[in-house]
Symmetry: C2
């Protein structure tokens, strides 16, 4: 593949950075609809098989999403308590409204910062959060996949509660 | 990004085709360990919240994985009953052993066929399975994500059965 003529970069690329952000934000929009679908009390308490409540899983996504993008760009690995301190977001939400507001602040931060990732950074070896070694692209895919994985867990919680979850396929597939 | 010098393709690419296959096969190896972790009877019958048994979800993955790669390459959209007819795999497995054998045949087919995907095909608009419109990369990501999503559902099934699932992070992250 590296020997192909690369005059038209978009046709010789698996996926562009802009497409990957769009793909991720499509998934994040679905996760937001999952948060909305949970009754307020069950969001923070409901569990199957001793697993974590959905709000705790969502906070895991929040702790990884923008800090990882910021880290890939700056090589500084900071928590959302530091990174979002001037945004007005509650970084330890205790209500659905606070959790959704935090989610939305992160959505905006990702849209603002993702385009600052230098293209060559995706293939760069890093140590994310001071401990996870790998290429940036591998770290980022881990974070995307972790959200899909645990959100799938949330689908079972909603079904077990007798609530129809939002459709998995209802995302912007037009990359 | 398209204006960058592309003399070193691997450093100006988000992810290469080979890395994406490795990433997918890492996920598929985890799904295989999930199949193994289910007791034989529960694999075909256990459900939470009226959702499908894990074996049915796995058959959905099997019906999409190789047919989609074959389709991206040939623009022919065929089922595994046709595509795997000379492999000896049982395409409607009723035992865990048959399901694992089918899984392994597909793993080999993906390793054999994925490198035949022309790089420019990832960004090509297609109509997958005669009905799903989008770029090939979007169709392929849908299939990867669908597996992660439903496998997350399987994690809840195992926990509800009192069985420790294989670790989500235990995949080859070294892309």
């Amino acid at each position: 593949m590296e020997n192909n003529t690369l005059s038209a970069a978009t046709t010789t690329t698996v996926i562009t950075p802009g497409q990957l952000l769009k793909h991720w934000q499509g998934h994040r929009a679905l996760t937001r609809r999952m948060i909305e679908a949970f009754p307020e009390d069950q969001l923070f308490t409901f569990s199957v098989g001793g697993m974590r409540p959905f709000s705790t899983l969502v906070m895991e996504f929040c702790g990884m999403a923008f800090p990882s993008v910021y880290g890939v760009i700056t090589d500084e690995w900071l928590g959302i308590d530091v990174l979002l301190k001037d945004t007005g977001a509650v970084v330890k939400p205790t209500t659905k409204a606070e959790l959704l507001q935090l989610w939305d602040v992160i959505t905006e931060k990702l849209n603002e910062w993702w385009p600052k990732i230098p293209v060559e950074a995706f293939q760069k070896e890093i140590t994310a959060f001071g401990q996870y070694e790998g290429k940036s692209v591998s770290i980022l895919f881990y974070i995307f996949d972790n959200e899909i994985h645990h959100r799938g867990q949330g689908y079972v919680y909603l079904r077990a509660l007798g609530i129809e979850p939002p459709a998995f396929w209802d995302r912007d597939q037009n990359l």
